[in-house]
Symmetry: C2
DNA sequence: CTTTACAAACCGTCTGGTCGGTTTTATATA
DNA sequence: TATATAAAACCGACCAGACGGTTTGTAAAG
């Protein structure tokens, strides 16, 4: 086996093991020894790939971010032509993806924040860019953010193991969040002037609607 | 000093210390020694009040649940007469309260899930009841849940230290979530029959206002 | 005098990290 | 092609400190 791919396989095995441990035993049980046991590597082997535990967490985070970045850009390419708010659509789809896939890589977030909260700076930065993009394109920025927040609520509360919702409900709620048509009724102007709330902006929104 | 109150003061000091540690250093740094240091008690003293670390976590959780329970019932009493959906209103207000107060007792949740995810069963159970109540009273149950999910998204993402929102934005978004008038435009029937989406159901929802 | 609240030293285990050595792969030379 | 050599991947014993928890002792409350 090629040396580079050997390394990569080991790194991968370690990170997969880490995620499995977090999902099964909780983030508090994520130790270097546990990773070694779970991955089949020796502790020395793990330490050769990651010089410290923080390095593991960082790699986990970056891996997860890269994964969703990829998903995002692919989805974005699909909808950017047809949707009036492709950034929001993409983010909602991405969050749904994260919430749906079992052993979601999003568990990396939990682990990072447990061990070293300052690691959250990276994902937070990325999140800010995305929110800005969502605001930018939205007829009603706050409403767009609230739809995004709704998706995050569904994701995080299930990640926390405290979501009281069934799979079906989850799916249905996400579907509604994604569907622009269902939110067109109450868009409000971007602030600036007062304006009569519902009627005017609703008409405006309806006129530019574009459904698949 | 009375013996009972002496105990209570110690217990309290330990729990306060625990929350301070979680907020400052992250849940991974919450140890019995740290609690002893932070609270001024000796480790023996802490262990006298809580026989195990899990007992600390449990007490922390129960304390937090009791706190928000109290807030909830008080708020509920205020609005139950005037609001068509007092449960939703109360939950939104409670979540806002949790998100707003610094060193939110909600940090107990994070700590619990780190150390022993199964502890989340208690809050999850309580949450299910609340969601059921919200659904019950809502003209458009899914929309109500989504408003609740939005609030949770704002809370949890700031709890995670990954909220990109400013205080002002936070406040404004919560205000909009709470304000029923801003959501009246797009209510949809409780499923059952199909119905023409926006216009018809909006009118219907408006007409039936209060039913309970 | 008994019970309760606390202190402090202590114990076995686990944790993150180090280190010397072994095996596997890559490269150079003949 | 065979061989010597360097470099990378990997192993597993080891270490110091931190961890959850126990034990023993003491002062205050009842």
């Amino acid at each position: 086996m090629d040396n580079a791919t050997r390394s990569e396989r080991s790194r991968n095995a370690a990170l997969e093991a880490a995620i499995a441990i977090i999902a099964r035993d909780g983030p508090g049980r994520l130790t270097l020894d546990a990773i070694a046991r779970e991955s089949g590597l020796s502790k020395g082997g793990v330490m050769h790939q990651f010089r410290t535990k923080e390095a593991v967490l960082k790699a986990l985070l970056e891996r997860q971010m890269a994964h969703f970045e990829e998903f995002s850009t692919a989805y974005m390419a699909k909808v950017s032509a047809t949707s009036p708010n492709p950034n929001l659509a993409t983010q909602l789809a991405t969050v749904r993806e994260a919430a749906t896939s079992p052993n979601s890589a999003a568990l990396a977030l939990v682990a990072a924040m447990v061990e070293n909260p300052s690691l959250m700076a990276l994902p937070r930065g990325r999140e800010m860019e995305r929110m800005a993009a969502i605001r930018e394109e939205a007829a009603d920025p706050d409403l767009a953010i609230l739809r995004w927040a709704g998706a995050m609520g569904l994701l995080l509360s299930s990640l926390f193991g405290m979501s009281p919702l069934s799979k079906d409900e989850h799916q249905r709620l996400f579907a509604r969040l994604v569907d622009d048509a269902q939110w067109a009724g109450l868009e409000r102007p971007a602030a600036k002037r007062s304006a009569k709330p519902a009627a005017a902006s609703a008409a405006k929104a309806a006129s530019k609607r574009k459904r698949a």
